[in-house]
Amino acid sequence: MCQPIKKYLTASLPNAHPLHTYGSVRKRVKCSFIYTYIHIGSESTIKIKMQFMLLFSRQGKLRLQKWYVPLSDKERKKISRDLVQTILARKPKMCSFLEWRDLKIVYKRYASLYFCCAVEDQDNELITLEIIHRYVELLDKYFGSVCELDIIFNFEKAYFILDEFLLGGEAQETSKKNVLKAIEQADLLQEEAEAPRSVLEEIGLT
């Protein structure tokens, strides 16, 4: 069975009293739970390169969130909120990179959407920018001149495309054409699976 996270939390904090409850430990690490995560990481030896990708609008509404690290809903919400606020506070001409907690954030704004990736400190930020750009190109090709509304109303497709481009936080296919071809095929399969349902069910052959 999965081990409860509180065990990792109390074990990895330097001065943690073993009788601390989850709640109070959370309070203590309120500002540094990313650090705590890294501790958990070293306990179970995870060294994730890309930790998450967020897409959000200029009003701070999340349009897509892909997490490559195990975090609870609450933690995810907090990270998203804090990070979104930090990025929205930056001026337009500023650098695309910023250090936040102990991660490096690479972000770029395309029209009304911010695309933001959190990578580990040793990563090549420029290639992450290229990854973001590639994802935008894929969306653009798929939706035909993509805009924010496309991503809002077809969010599951945006996820499918992302999952065909990145796997576990790493690029899996470097050819645009192949990614789009795979998506096309998968979409076809989906349509086939959806369409004949009524017919088959009528005959009784689900």
């Binding site: 999965c2 500023m94 090549n124 930020e125 599951e156 998968a186 399969l189």
Partner: protein, 638 residues
């Protein structure tokens, strides 16, 4: 109405809600409907309902009741339901949820499905949220897929293996043989996955690293092929052929070449080729060039190559693109210790970056400038740093001041310059300096005996201009108390002397004492200084007496105590006052001002006024003074 339109309809309705309350209402209704649907038997709408739930979840509403539905949908034979089911699993389940274990079996089955798209769903989910247990269970399956499947699956299996190795490093050995053979593939996706996998294996296991050093020639060949190949429409990005793969290969070469001469030799030519042939006008090219530079600096490269790398970084510094400037400074920071002279050549550009608009760039430029300070350039560089301090963003101030102080301490060309620099910092950013600055500065001033006159005149001027900066005021008060006689004498060689009367000086000190801006510590300094002046001035001793006695009933305990003690000095020990207690302080160690600040609870003769050294000021070493204090049974002021 087709079910997927209902999803979009729901999204439209939610977006149309004008208030948060309205939105909540809509969502509650929808969630209730979804829950009801989930409880029913399969009616063909499950996947759409889950999709709706996922949308609601993305808005921030709870969706845990959908977890079991994800498990059910993943087990469904229909592709559309599996697709949404797996998506839901990646969004709603993570390895901490118990439900995530329930999908292990489904994933296992789907990994051997005859449709590669189903296999791909399973691989993707495993790589995204697979727990250690799941990874252990499914590792053999992944290994099988690594060896015998089409390239579409192989590339995904490789990255899945990367995730498994990250979660359970011991399984690395399982994948090593398969990883090795994947390098022979032509498909870029598979190659990329293979390189990432090998990188991960080598980073975790030194033996594996040894093993893979043998493939350096092969990697060099692949890389050469990419660099020299003509235009390939499939992989071309801004003139670079598959920059993603190039960057990953370079990173792997870096790990393999680290601390190893043979491996490093084998890649020298390639790195030189990439460094010279890559067009860096667009980000893709710069990314490859950047990775090349990082690799060159990390392996045992020949010196010519290193110079080339530093020059590339220097070129990046001049790039119009702010991002490129930022990353170039990041890398220069890493090598400033080892290749100091090479980086020094670019000092001018780095210092210019201090004036950049962007805070991240400024921070990098600051770090780098501080690292580049040396005895040779200290004067000019300090000018720039002080200029930067006056306009730097507040979050960088503390760091800047401490950096400036450290640099000044190490390379100050003269004591006067040092004192001037510290004073300048205190006037510009006195609120952001560290606490030890005040005692450090006091100690510095004391040691610079020939500058006492100069210092006290400068500080007096600063004091009458502005008493808001506490650190500056404290030092100024101390100085005036200590060298008030020099101030009153009205002559100074190094600077324009101030012509003051005793009343002026006492006015200044009284202003500090009475100002609401002064902190209690500052008031303590001012009071002590006033007291010390009683031995240095002749006409206004009564005024000092009256000031001191007022504070005898001050609310602040510290001030009150001092005032009472000083009063006692006036009354009972007047004969000693001049000779002993408030005479010039010997040259002290930095600890002494703490004594002044502290004040103890002891009665006057052995009070915290620790310089109860009879006779004139002598330059004793710190050690002697402590002995003396120990002998007199004085407890250190706390």
């Amino acid at each position: 109405m087709s079910p997927s339109v209902r999803l979009q309809e729901m999204i439209r309705v939610i977006r149309g809600a004008r208030t948060q309350g309205e939105e909540r209402g809509v969502i509650q209704r929808e969630c209730a409907a979804i829950r009801a649907q989930f409880r029913q038997a399969d009616n063909g709408t499950r996947s759409h309902n889950l999709a709706k739930l996922l949308y609601v979840h993305m808005l921030g509403y709870p969706a845990h009741f959908g977890q079991m539905e994800c498990v059910r949908l993943i087990a469904s034979p229909r592709y559309n339901e599996k697709r949404v089911g797996y998506l839901g699993a990646m969004m709603l389940l993570d390895e901490k949820q118990d439900a995530s274990l329930l999908i292990t079996n489904s994933i296992k089955n789907d990994l051997s499905h005859n449709s590669q798209y189903v296999q791909s769903l399973a691989l993707c989910t495993l790589a995204c949220m697979g727990s250690a247990e799941m990874c252990r269970d499914l590792a053999p399956e992944i290994d099988r897929l690594l060896r015998a499947s089409n390239s579409y699956i192989k590339k995904k299996a490789a990255l899945c293996a990367v995730h498994i190795v990250r979660k359970v490093p011991d399984l690395g050995e399982l994948f090593t043989p398969a990883a090795r053979s994947l390098l022979c593939e032509k498909n870029h996706g598979v190659l990329h996955g293979a390189v990432v996998l090998i990188t991960e294996l080598c980073e975790r296991n030194p033996d594996t690293l040894e093993q893979f050093r043998k493939v350096v020639p092969e990697l060099v060949q692949i890389m050469k092929g990419l660099v020299m190949s003509g235009y390939s429409p499939e992989h071309n990005v801004a003139g670079i052929s598959d920059p993603f793969l190039q960057v990953r290969i370079l990173r792997l070469l870096r790990i393999l070449g680290r601390n190893n001469d043979t491996a490093s030799d084998a890649m020298n030519d390639l790195l030189a080729q990439v460094a010279t042939n890559t067009d860096s006008s667009k980000t893709a090219g710069s990314a490859v060039l950047y990775e090349t530079v990082l690799t060159v600096m990390d392996i045992k490269s020949e010196s010519g190559l290193r110079v080339l790398a530093v020059n590339i970084l220097g070129r990046f510094l001049l790039n119009n693109d702010r991002n490129i400037r930022y990353i170039s400074m990041t890398s220069l920071q890493k090598i400033v210790q080892t290749d100091h002279n090479a980086v020094q050549r670019h000092r001018g550009t780095i210092v210019d970056c201090l004036k950049d608009q962007d805070a991240s760039v400024k921070r990098r430029a600051l770090e780098l400038s501080l690292a580049l300070v040396s005895a040779v350039n200290i004067r000019s560089l300090m000018k720039e740093l002080l200029l930067f301090l006056s306009s730097c963003p507040p979050e960088l101030r503390a760091h800047t001041t401490s950096g400036i102080f450290n640099a000044a301490e190490r390379y100050a060309p003269s004591q006067r310059w040092h004192i001037d620099t510290i004073l300048h910092v205190l006037t510009t950013a006195g609120g952001d300096v560290r606490d030890e600055t005040v005692p450090n500065l006091i100690q510095l001033i004391t040691t610079a005996t020939e500058l006492h006159c100069y210092t006290v005149h400068k500080l007096y001027r600063a004091l009458i201009t502005d008493i808001s900066v506490q650190s500056l005021v404290q030092v100024a008060c101390w100085c005036i108390g200590e060298y008030g006689d020099l101030l009153l004498r009205g002559e100074c060689e190094e600077t324009e002397p101030v012509q003051v009367t005793e009343d002026d000086v006492l006015d200044a000190l009284e202003t500090v004492l009475q100002s609401h801006m002064s902190s209690p510590a500052t008031r303590g300094f001012a009071l002590t200084a006033t007291m010390k002046l009683s031995t240095r001035i002749t006409h206004n001793v009564d005024r000092i007496r009256s000031i001191v006695s007022i504070y005898g009933s001050c609310i602040d305990v510290e001030l009150q105590q001092r005032a009472v003690e000083y009063n006692a000095l006036f009354k009972k020990y007047d004969h000693m006052r001049y000779r002993g207690s408030v005479c010039g302080a010997p040259s002290v160690i930095a600890k002494l001002p703490e004594y002044l600040l502290g004040g103890s609870g002891e009665p006057v003769p052995s009070s915290g006024l620790s310089h109860t050294v009879p006779g004139p000021a002598t330059s004793t070493s710190g050690g002697d003074l402590l002995d003396l204090l120990g002998g007199l049974d004085v407890s250190p002021g706390e």
